[in-house]
């Protein structure tokens, strides 16, 4: 460990640490754009200027290693002047389009400008014109005029994904980020470039022009896309969920997450959700009143002798525990648990970075819950199958196929579904099949255990469908014979969609 003094505060840093890392460790303010802890050092923005041991020369903190006893400061007038001008150099050709820029509100330029801006435009000359809406690939759009050429995105595709789609073309103030001919930015991690872009140059096609960021709240969660379990923040407001961004987690995902995971908020939003309890009669879905639904549930579960639970690894540790407890209390019945793996052939695959073939957030959690799993064949002889469905059936096609098979056998199903079940028009569900709205991982608290065995917490964020239940809540209702939160269930809108017929009872 080396001891150094930063702006008069002493700090101990490991040998080999850079000065900027020491600043970060101390949470001392230092301006920077090109430096990113997950990438190599470029040393091009020239903002992280410091003075060392009162020497006259300015050094960049990112490319200077801390030496024992070093005295570092960025509070002298020389440094402040350099940073002020550094900001000016960044801004002279930057368009003043914050009112229509997606980055506004979380923009590095805005933040540093408030601290180091000269507040008086000295540039009287015309700004450099560059390309505006440049389609870089499937998910990312570039505005070259906003780009400050920090090269973070270029280094990301070079060093992290090693796909090298991006480069800096041309020279001097005509330099531009770009892709090579016929090689769009098309890797599975491309949206990370948008996250690390300190300005509004790279924007996500999915998120641009959707929301002003200051109208969004964020909730810490865990990505449910695969067993890696990346730490994420979900951004939402009363209109729904809008985007997902990775949060630094040294043990799991570092600074990054994959593009697939970014889409996992879409099935949570209201338009695609099941919002009320439905019952299938004569191959049509009918909304069920609360009392009726409870009666029906109690009747179905008390009548059935042979119950199967078709379970996936998409639920929380707490829900599995509730399921186990519930089953233990029903000792007079046969209860079988069938563990449904979606894609056994690619289950153990790994892309070397973050993406795993196991598309469940809690496989370890399910396996460690202590269930004795039965063979899938027991489903066919069951009176009733409780099916807490995977959140996004689109990535679980075989689960839906199994439900279709069971329906053909006229097996009674009790579905717990996130997505609007009425869209599966091809499946003829048996009469009496119930579909109950289910909570997504973003609407409940709990824990997932990732592939490493790391238990990670998810936080309850915004509730999109108030009537939705967690698996544990449904089981509780069945057990005690009444709804846990009937006031919420009542407040749902009754007219779900045109595919639902009028109330039968």
């Amino acid at each position: 460990m080396f001891k150094c003094t930063i702006n008069g505060h002493e700090v101990e840093v490991p040998e080999g640490a850079s000065v900027i890392e020491a600043f970060k460790l101390l949470k001392e303010d230092i301006a920077h754009y090109c430096w990113h802890p997950g990438l190599s050092i470029a040393g091009v923005c020239r903002l992280c200027m410091v003075q060392i041991d009162d020497g006259p020369r300015l050094h960049i903190a990112c490319n200077t290693l801390v030496k024992d006893g070093m005295k570092i400061t960025n509070q002298t007038e020389v440094v402040k002047e350099a940073v002020r001008w550094g900001m000016d150099f960044h801004l002279i050709n930057h368009p003043l389009d914050c009112p229509i820029c997606d980055q506004a509100g979380e923009c590095g330029l805005q933040e540093q400008y408030m601290k180091y801006g000269q507040y008086d435009s000295s540039m009287a000359e015309k700004k450099v014109k560059k390309r505006k809406v440049v389609d870089l690939g499937e998910r990312v759009v570039l505005d070259s005029e906003r780009c400050i050429l920090c090269s973070r995105c270029v280094r990301f595709t070079d060093e992290v994904t090693k796909t090298n789609e991006l480069g800096i073309f041309n020279r001097g103030d005509h330099s531009e980020i770009g892709t090579f001919e016929d090689q769009p930015l098309d890797n599975k991690y491309s949206l990370n470039t948008v996250d690390i872009c300190p300005v509004g140059a790279l924007t996500s096609k999915d998120f641009r022009f959707q929301q002003r960021v200051w109208y969004l709240k964020d909730t810490d969660s865990i990505c449910t896309g695969c067993s890696t379990g990346c730490s994420i923040k979900v951004y939402h407001n009363k209109e729904g969920l809008f985007r997902v961004k990775p949060v630094f987690n040294e043990k799991v995902n570092g600074h990054w997450m994959c593009d697939e995971g970014r889409d996992l908020y879409k099935h949570v939003n209201a338009p695609v959700r099941l919002k009320q309890i439905l019952k299938s009669v004569g191959n049509e879905w009918f909304p069920l009143g609360l009392e009726r639904a409870l009666d029906h549930l109690n009747e179905a579960f008390s009548k059935a002798e042979n119950i199967s639970v078709l379970i996936t690894a998409q639920h929380t540790v707490e829900e599995y525990k509730a399921l186990k407890n519930w089953a233990q209390q029903l000792q007079d019945k046969t209860i079988n648990f069938v563990y449904w793996k979606n894609n056994p052939e690619s289950f153990d695959s790994f892309d070397g970075l973050l993406i795993r073939g196991d598309k469940n957030p809690n496989t370890k959690g399910l396996l460690e819950a202590g269930f004795e799993f039965a063979d899938a064949s027991v489903l066919d002889s069951s009176d009733l199958v409780l099916a807490p469905m995977p959140e996004n059936p689109a990535v679980y096609p075989k689960y839906m196929e199994k439900l279709e098979q069971l329906s053909k056998l006229q097996t009674q199903l009790c579905l717990l579904s996130v997505s609007n079940i009425t869209q599966h028009e091809t499946i003829n569900f048996a009469d009496g099949t119930l579909a109950i709205p289910m909570k997504t991982a973003f609407e409940k608290a709990g824990h997932f255990i990732n592939h490493q065995g790391l238990t990670q917490k998810i936080h309850k964020g915004r509730v999109i469908v108030k009537a939705a239940l967690g698996l544990d809540e449904l089981l509780q209702a069945i057990k005690i014979g009444k709804w846990i939160q009937p006031q919420l269930l009542k407040s749902r809108k009754t007219n779900e969609s045109s595919k639902v017929s009028g109330e039968l009872w």
Binding site: C45, R57, F89, S122, N170, R171, G172, D173
Partner: protein
């Protein structure tokens, strides 16, 4: 003081560029002498000679060689022949007239630093140089002066020519290394310095053409004899490319410390009836000297540095009273704006900003306040970037505007008139 010719003595002979002609005038004899020395002794000799890099920065060559790590790692010798500093044309002459001199100097240097491979990075526009040097390397291979076991010494060395595509920035040593590696020609962040981690991440020494050639007289006559020429801290001779408002522009080899006015006389002096206004003594990036400063200026590292300028690459650009300083600064600023690689923000944005401001003045749209802004911008570009291009743009801007402020103010006040005149011409 007369013209002392350590390097250019035989340049007037047409035969000197062939191996035969070069050997007839004593070529490759010093190499034989060098092979009998210990490599470290050669380094020590170069160190003792006080030879400083002739490319522009003037870093002591022997000291640079001494930075190489003492291990068995492969090390490379790169010859910087990307002569890009405006006003400089000495390396071109050296390669066209005496390619074997460069090759001999390089083999001696490579032997000293134990490098098995060297590249000569020639500026792309120098097609004549590329031709002569390539032909000379072939001759050298055929004569056993390159390749395995050179002259029976047991030393193996290969040499290749690589040429740039005309980017000024590739004349920076790390910019050149990037280009040589097949990357975009952009300087690399230091540390690590090339001597520790350069070409292909191996220890690398980059020297200018003239520097490498100067190793020959040092080994031939000894450090003491070399040091006797020039001044105490600037030893040896230097080639100066004198251009601009003189009668006989050209390259002149003189001992360092040579009076600037005498050098102008060597170049035929000013044109009849003209008065000296200013001189840029070391390539376009060197701060300009006023006529008054020129009177006492001596062409060595210390004296020019004391006058706030620098020896640079030795490109002496003479400016007489027929020239307009605003115009000249416009050309220089346009050059640096065009050549900035665009990596570091102060340079990328600053060079463009300076160029635009000077051109506004040229177009008759200047404001007096622009002059102070030029000084502020240029001052903030100095010493803030990875390489020296930003300084190279800032220094002329600072010196032109400070030393010839009256002329700039006059141009701004009568801007429309000047601009209209320029338009009619």
């Amino acid at each position: 003081m007369s013209e002392s010719q350590l390097l250019t003595e035989h340049y007037h002979k047409d035969t000197y560029k062939s191996l035969k002609g070069y050997q007839a005038d004593g070529g490759y004899e010093v190499l034989k002498k060098a092979f009998k020395m210990e490599p470290q002794a050669i380094i020590d000799e170069v160190k003792a000679s006080g030879l400083r890099g002739r490319g522009g920065a003037g870093f002591p060559t022997g000291v640079k060689w001494g930075f190489l790590p003492r291990n068995d790692e492969t090390r490379y010798l790169l010859c910087n022949a990307d002569e890009g500093e405006p006003g400089t044309f000495k390396d071109r002459m050296m390669m066209e007239r005496a390619p074997h001199q460069l090759i001999e100097g390089m083999i001696i240097s490579a032997f000293a630093i134990n490098s098995p491979k060297s590249y000569i990075y020639i500026r792309g526009e120098y097609d004549q140089c590329i031709e002569t040097v390539t032909a000379a390397i072939k001759e050298a291979y055929d004569a056993g002066l390159l390749g395995e076991n050179i002259l029976g010494s047991g030393f193996k060395h290969d040499m290749d020519v690589y040429y740039g595509a005309g980017a000024y920035i590739c004349g920076d040593e790390t910019g050149m290394i990037s280009s040589l590696e097949g990357l975009k020609g952009q300087p690399k962040l230091k540390p690590p310095f090339p001597a520790v981690q350069g070409y292909l991440k191996k220890p690398t020494i980059v020297n200018n053409v003239e520097t490498l050639a100067a190793v020959i007289p040092i080994i031939d006559k000894g450090a003491e004899a070399y040091k006797a020429i020039g001044t105490e801290k600037s030893s040896g001779t230097k080639l100066f490319s004198v251009s601009g408002c003189v009668e006989k522009a050209g390259n002149f080899e003189v001992p360092l410390g040579y009076p600037l006015m005498d050098l102008i006389e060597l170049a035929g002096g000013l044109r009849p009836g003209r008065k000296l206004k200013a001189v840029i003594p070391g390539g376009s990036s060197a701060p300009v000297l006023t006529a008054e400063e020129c009177l006492t200026a001596k062409m060595d590292y210390e004296d020019l540095s004391a006058k706030g300028s620098m020896l640079g690459s030795g490109a002496v650009m003479v400016i007489d009273d027929s020239q307009n300083m605003v115009d000249l600064l416009g050309v220089i600023m346009h050059f640096y704006h065009h050549e900035s690689c665009g990596q570091c923000t102060p340079c990328r944005e600053g060079t463009g900003w300076l160029s635009k401001m000077v051109h506004s003045i040229l177009e008759g749209k200047g404001r007096i306040a622009d002059l102070d802004l030029i000084l502020k911008v240029a001052n903030q570009m100095k010493g803030k970037t990875i390489c020296a291009l930003s300084d190279a743009a800032a220094l002329p801007a600072l010196s032109f505007v400070t030393k010839f402020r009256d002329e700039f103010e006059d141009y701004i006040k009568r801007g429309h008139q000047y601009a209209a005149e320029a338009l009619h011409v």
